[in-house]
């Protein structure tokens, strides 16, 4: 089994999605099976993580075909870390789904599709083959289409149509890039591409393929000027779904950018300028967008964008310090963004709305819950020593060293906006008295739940908050991990040698 | 039971033709495969399948007769197509049917469609009339008689 250890998460998720399809009408059983499945996936992910942590990059050659002839799965530190984070987020969200998603949705294969989505995410992180990455992307997007649109009311359908069109378009651009790349190097294995692309004489064509990848992935990861569709789509589905979208879907785009731009493409001044500009604009635009929102889910949405800019900016700097910052931020962001949307769901369950103007009095009525939620909020802001703070040190430092003062300014700007908006959100939602609104009668409020149900609602939030606290206070471990990953990424021959067995 | 078996054999033969391997193993495989398919489809009504044995050889003989008719039909139409003027007098004619079963009606309609200047448009819901579009309906009664005496008669002779 240890030979295949890094792909066990894939096996587990595929197994459970099949199993769940067989349990089509047994919703209560599905809930349990899905939670068990995610728990198993978590255990397996930890196992794989520890294995790679101790033994270094591990490669599985599917079909026993050596690279570059077959599809390989590459468990380097970055991949297994992301797999682990996916498992953590997936575990929390599966529990949250079990309690929060309405029966009608569950009856139509929600959990099965959910596992397919997680399968896709894990596959995307692990694969060493660029076309295979496309295929994983597709299972991700089709699953997300289904999750966003099933049981669709007006808003969801509107969101889904745009979401579909843009993601399809992104996939087409990705495929175009892939076609160009294959036309140039005749191989699909990323490590092999990396070697062969260095021999391509026409660097303009290489740059073009890079730009196409950038745009294709950029649409998915919400970079300026490609993200405009996102705020209108991601907040429409149920919170459990939004949580996975927010936490992982945009990050898989960032992951792909990191992978492609560290492994395949060498540093290039044109691309650097392009990435930097896009990053700065993303931070700015996301931050500016967050200021004017009244719905907390949409506020979080714009922060996703804003903070993606942080990571892209770090990637653009292309130094080890910056990369460590990017990785740390990625780790922090996946957990925190997932949690924020679960919190949104929790607030909705309490108050039937996520509109700040209609919300209030949470602190007075739910002091402990409020304090619990304060931790992720302030982690998002990056109040030291919580998790969002640490990566900023690396990013700021790297932007200084690279003398990219605009990026530095953008980082400060983004952090400040986050601080102010979250403080405002806190004041509005938690401090302010509950304004007089008509609470719908036909709604099961949080207060009406049984103790066990309440616990199930709060547990995922508490669990992820705990992880966030660990990231903040155990920053030493995370930073060491991030530095190790950054070293691996910046010295891509480690990856290439592992894959091609050189 | 017997009809099932015959269908089974027939499908097996089609299989052998498709694969082009004429040996026992392939026969066996084809047989099992056909069996499975028939088993799956056992809900399908198979009216008229009892006559498989008789029908198969007759279809083969009818086939060659039909090719001839088809060629004739095409020549006629070809002439119509390439000559600059149209000599036709088309129209839709109601053709009373003697054919009763699904198979009979279907085959008749298909044959009519495939032959010169005629197109079977539809069968009345009570199966009493076949509506035929003809290119050369110079005389309605003659037109009807031609078909009834030609195709329908021949066909029913074969099928009954």
């Amino acid at each position: 089994m240890t030979n295949d250890i890094i792909i066990l998460p894939l096996v587990v998720h595929l197994f459970f999605s099949i199993l769940l399809m067989f349990l089509w009408n047994k919703i209560n059983l599905q809930k349990i099976v899905s939670i068990v499945g995610n728990a198993v996936a978590l255990v397996v992910a930890i196992w794989a993580f520890v294995f790679v942590y101790n033994n270094g990059t591990h490669v599985v050659e599917s079909g026993n075909w050596p690279a570059p002839f077959g599809i390989v799965f590459v468990g380097d530190m970055l991949a297994v870390t992301l797999v682990l984070l996916t498992a953590i987020a997936g575990f929390a969200v599966s529990i949250f789904s079990a309690i929060s998603v309405i029966k009608a949705r569950l009856r139509f294969g929600y959990f099965s599709v959910f596992h397919f989505l997680l399968l896709g995410l894990n596959g995307a992180f692990l694969t060493g083959d660029i076309f295979n990455l496309y295929v994983w992307f597709e299972i991700i997007i089709i699953s997300s289409f289904v999750l966003i649109s099933i049981g669709g009311e007006r808003n969801q359908l509107e969101g889904a149509v745009k979401y579909f069109a843009l993601n399809f378009f992104a996939s087409m651009i990705f495929l175009t890039a892939l076609g160009v790349l294959y036309g140039l190097v005749g191989t699909l294995n990323m490590a092999d591409i990396s070697l062969k692309i260095a021999e391509v004489e026409n660097t303009t064509l290489v740059e073009i393929s890079a730009v196409l990848f950038l745009v294709g992935f950029g649409i998915k990861s919400a970079i300026f000027p490609l993200y405009f569709w996102l705020p209108a789509s991601y907040h429409t589905p149920p919170s459990a779904v939004s949580a996975i979208f927010a936490g992982l879907l945009t990050k898989v785009g960032v992951y792909a950018l990191i992978r492609v731009f560290t492994l395949i493409y060498a540093e290039d001044s044109f691309l650097t300028v392009l990435l930097l500009t896009m990053a700065i604009m993303t931070i700015f635009s996301g931050g500016v967008g967050a200021i004017i929102q009244n719905n907390i889910k949409k506020v979080f949405m714009y922060f996703i964008i804003c903070h993606i800019g942080f990571m892209i900016g770090g990637l653009a700097l292309f130094t080890e310090v910056a990369m460590a910052g990017v990785i740390f931020y990625l780790i922090h962001d996946i957990i925190i963004k997932t949690n924020l949307f679960l919190m949104g769901g929790l607030i909705y369950r309490i108050k039937t709305t996520t509109n700040m103007k209609k919300l209030g009095g949470l602190y007075a009525n739910y002091p402990k819950l409020s304090l619990l939620m304060a931790i992720p909020l302030f982690s998002l802001v990056g109040i030291p020593p919580l998790s969002g703070y640490w990566p900023k040190i690396s990013l700021i430092l790297a932007s200084f060293n690279a003398e990219e003062y605009w990026l530095f300014g953008a980082l400060i700007f983004g952090s400040l906006i986050t601080l102010i908006v979250i403080a405002k959100l806190w004041a509005e939602v938690f401090w302010k008295d509950q304004p007089k609104i008509n609470f719908p009668k036909k709604f099961i409020y949080f207060d009406q739940l049984r103790l066990g149900q309440k616990f199930t609602f709060v547990f995922p939030v508490a669990f992820l908050t705990f992880v966030t606290l660990y990231i903040g206070f155990g920053a030493e471990h995370i930073q060491q991990l991030s530095q190790r990953i950054a070293t691996e990424l910046m010295n891509n021959e480690m990856y290439i040698n592992a894959v091609l067995k050189r | 039971m017997k009809t099932k078996f015959l269908s089974n054999i027939l499908l097996t033969l089609i299989w052998i033709f498709l694969t082009g391997e004429y040996n026992f193993n392939n026969f066996l495989f084809g047989f099992v495969l056909s069996f499975i398919i028939l088993w799956i489809l056992s809900g399908v009504e198979d009216k008229g399948s009892k006559k498989y044995f008789k029908i198969v050889p007759r279809i083969v003989s009818f086939f060659f007769f039909f090719i001839w008719e088809l060629t004739k039909a095409n020549i006629q139409v070809a002439y119509e197509v390439i000559t600059p003027n149209f000599n036709m007098e088309p129209g839709i004619v109601a053709l009373p049917l003697d054919a009763k079963t699904d198979l009979e009606i279907t085959l008749l309609a298909n044959l009519i469609t495939l032959t010169p200047g005629t197109l079977a448009l539809d069968v009345s819901t009570d199966r009493s009339v076949l509506y035929v579009h003809g290119m050369y309906v110079m005389n309605k009664k003659e037109f009807i008689a031609d078909i009834k005496q030609g195709f329908e008669k021949r066909l029913l002779e074969i099928l009954r």
Binding site: I208, A364, I396 | -
Partner: protein, 768 residues
């Protein structure tokens, strides 16, 4: 020292989570926490007085160089004692002031968290951990200012304060990171050795500006001062503790700390002196126009902070000693005055100084404390205030060429501060007691004892300034000044020019107090000036920014899918166009191309026409049928070019898609002409440009050689190793089987989606 810092945090956690079980019973007991810390720090006095510096270091996040390093030197001890000392009294005072308040425990929780953060800040030897504690003071003060969170005013003030100090915090982060980078260490004590490296570095100015930004926002220097009067909305203990004694001095502390590291250039002095001077004079003048006691105190606090910055800017030993002493002076009198104001407010229900008089008759001990506080504030001997004021004049008088000018500014400020101190500390108690206040009773000693203790301490220290000298002044001077000179603090220096200036100050201050009475019309007069005051400007700026944000966001977030896509397409066109035309050469090797035949041309023609027909037809059904033609042409094309599997698949899939279309199409409306011609042309140009770029791109790539290593491997091994002869199929089920496995999963999910999309609604509708 780690324990000292952690104690506050742990206590805070305990109160926040478990406090509600005690319902305020722990209030008085809570004061034991700061008190014991105060005593703990007192025990270090002898060592520090001996000139020792105590270091402690705990590894935390060595990867970042962020460690819990603590230093206890004169400066740190001064602040630590002030924090814990004033803290003890404030804690005590609070127990009475907020007695029976619903959230008293929570309040203590925030308060001790703040105290711990503040302690951590002043004890940190690591600039990153200093920053961490710095931010924690901002956050805990956010909660403290917004403690009465049901009031919109409180929330707004808390947000403003957090916003301004938040900016400062981020600047500090930048400065700290940069400083650490330049110095090669985050330890402040080590940075001192790197002074020359830092001041010579090209980043020096940037560092300086960042650090100043942090300090000025935190210590409410002009033009960032406006958050402070607003923050006074907080309950009195908060105003006392944070906004006079401790937090606002964090900026001053930072400048103090940085003096031996960054004080190497004229610019350091210039900026600090100018900003400090403007702040102290500007806000001192403001005092005259205030009638709210807290308003008076707020502006006098800002002025005092200005004085401190101003002194640090002067930077001579005398000035630094003056600053150190003045920190103590200010803490003693200002904290007392705040507490006194709190008592008055608590008892009379008003802070309007025009309404208050004669309160000495009912609140005698408070009146005594008020009187002494006013004396300290006014620098009247024998209080420590007098010592402090003299030291200030001493410092200004000896500052190079601008001595006279600076001294005049200092005197002006001091006169106004004298006035402010008396208005706040004396005026409410003098004159006739209004009838409505006759029934007032002296509140609990827990409230009036703390100011009394502090003011008395002001007299004791005034009479024995040696205490201050040995405990703080000398140790601070020794660590913060490069060339230390021996000095002594005295109450009486004999007759000299400084004494003369003191006399002038006190006389003019007294005259001002007796002639100028606080009036509402004065307050209204200055309100008109608010429009150009930094506060309103900032407000307008932030409103403008919000408006800009709205415009910016709505400009891009139109909600129209086609805008989003056309933006992306345009972006791609620009990038690809730039790259393709940047080295435009299109030489095609015609010999490498395949020959063109009649039948291919007809197929391609059909394909082309089919595509165009699909685009331009006005009938949806015809478009779908045309799609069928396109699919057919495609599969023939694939067949001609050696891809039979593709031909089959393309055709079956296309037909199935057409069927799907056909099945749902009649549920959809007919085509309408929705876009006008201009839009069509715009989109046409966009799409055609993109198409042209793609064509050019293809031709360029086709010119490059291609590596065929992988396909050769498949050709050789498909049968021998993978037992298949149709290599495409072998790739699909074996070499790249994973792709296929996921591909069919995609189909499954799509089918589940279709199923759910159509059936789920049916079911819910059925329920209705």
């Amino acid at each position: 020292m780690l324990g000292a810092v952690l104690l506050g945090f742990l206590f805070s956690l305990f109160l926040v989570f478990a406090g509600s079980y005690f319902r305020g019973k722990l209030a008085v007991l809570s004061s034991l926490v700061p008190l014991s810390l105060f005593i703990y720090f007192l025990t270090f006095l002898p060592e520090i007085a001996d000139g020792k510096v105590i270091y402690e270091n705990y590894e935390w996040i060595p990867s970042f160089g962020v460690n819990l390093s603590f230093t206890l030197d004169g400066l740190a001890l001064l602040f630590a004692l002030m924090i814990t000392g004033v803290g003890s009294l404030v804690f005590l005072y609070t127990s009475a002031y907020l007695k029976d308040h619903k959230y008293l425990d929570r309040f203590y929780g925030y308060l001790s968290m703040f105290m711990a953060a503040m302690l951590g800040l002043v004890l940190s030897d690591n600039i990153m951990s200093l920053f961490i504690f710095w931010e924690l003071t901002s956050i805990s003060s956010f909660y403290l200012i917004g403690f009465n969170n049901d009031k919109a005013d409180s929330r707004k003030s808390a947000l403003t304060a957090l916003g301004i100090t938040g900016i400062g915090g981020l600047l500090l982060l930048g400065g700290a990171v940069l400083l650490g980078e330049v110095a090669g260490t985050y330890r402040i004590s080590e940075m001192v050795m790197m002074r020359d490296v830092i001041t010579d570095s090209s980043h020096y100015l940037l560092i300086l500006l960042l650090i100043f930004g942090a300090a000025f926002t935190k210590s409410a220097q002009f033009p960032f001062h406006f958050w402070l009067p607003g923050a006074m909305k907080a309950p009195t203990p908060v105003s006392t503790y944070l906004h006079s004694a401790t937090m606002v001095k964090a900026g001053v502390y930072l400048l103090f700390r940085m003096t031996p590291i960054l004080n190497g250039d004229e610019i350091w002095h210039t900026i600090l002196i100018v900003v400090g001077a403007v702040t102290m004079v500007y806000s001192a003048i403001h005092i005259i126009f205030r009638t709210d006691l807290k308003g008076i105190l707020a502006y006098s606090t800002i002025s005092a902070l200005g004085i401190l910055v101003f002194l640090i800017g002067i930077g001579t030993q005398a000035a630094l000693v003056a600053a150190a002493v003045f920190i103590v002076v200010h803490a003693l009198y200002k904290a007392s005055l705040f507490l006194i104001t709190g008592i008055i407010d608590h008892e009379t229900g008003t802070r309007d100084v025009t309404q208050l008089s004669g309160l000495r008759k009912v609140l005698l001990p408070v009146a005594i404390a008020g009187f002494i506080a006013a004396l300290i504030s006014g620098g009247v001997p024998p209080t420590l205030g007098f010592v402090g004021k003299d030291l200030i004049y001493e410092a200004t008088l000896h500052f190079k060429d601008a001595a006279i000018f600076l001294t005049v500014l200092a005197i002006l400020t001091k006169i106004l501060l004298f006035y402010g101190g008396f208005v706040a500390g004396v005026k409410p108690f003098m004159g006739k007691l209004p009838q409505k206040f006759e029934k007032l009773h002296l509140p609990s000693p827990l409230m009036w004892m703390p100011p009394l203790i502090m003011t008395l301490a002001g007299i004791v220290f005034g009479i024995f300034p040696g205490l201050i000298e040995t405990a703080f002044a000398k140790p601070i001077a020794m660590t913060q000044v490069i060339e230390f000179e021996e000095f002594h603090l005295k109450l009486w220096h004999g007759f000299n020019s400084v004494l003369g200036l003191s006399a002038i100050t006190i006389t003019l201050g007294a005259i001002l107090y007796f002639t100028l009475k606080p009036k509402h019309n004065l307050e209204n007069a200055i309100a008109k000036l608010d429009k150009i005051a930094p506060k309103d400007l900032t407000l307008k700026l932030s409103e403008g920014f919000a408006e800009f944000s709205r415009l910016w966001t709505n400009f891009f977030q139109t909600g129209y899918l086609r805008h989003y896509i056309s933006t992306i397409v345009l972006f791609l066109i620009l990038l690809l166009g730039y790259l393709i035309f940047s080295d435009f050469s299109l030489s095609i090797d015609y010999s490498s191309l395949t020959e063109l035949t009649v039948y291919e041309i007809s197929i391609l023609l059909m394909l082309l026409m089919g595509v165009l027909y699909t685009v331009f037809t006005k009938s949806r059904l015809a478009a779908v049928a045309a799609l069928g033609v396109v699919g057919l042409s495609f599969s023939l094309l694939f067949l001609f070019y050696s891809a039979p599997d593709l031909a089959m698949t393309q055709f079956s899939v296309d037909t199935l898609t057409v069927i799907l279309f056909v099945l749902v199409l009649y549920k959809l409306p007919k085509y309408l002409k929705l876009s006008d011609t201009g839009v069509r042309i715009k989109h046409g140009v966009l799409s055609i440009s993109f198409g042209i770029l793609i064509t050019l791109l293809i031709l360029k790539v086709l010119n490059e050689p291609k590596n065929t290593e992988i396909s050769e491997f498949y050709a050789e091994n498909a049968y021998t190793l993978a037992h298949g002869k149709n290599i495409v199929n072998v790739i699909l089920v074996d070499f790249r089987g994973i792709d296929t496995m996921i591909e069919i999963s995609v189909l499954i999910v799509a089918a589940l989606g279709v199923f759910g999309l159509l059936k789920l609604r049916l079911k819910t509708r059925d329920k209705k």
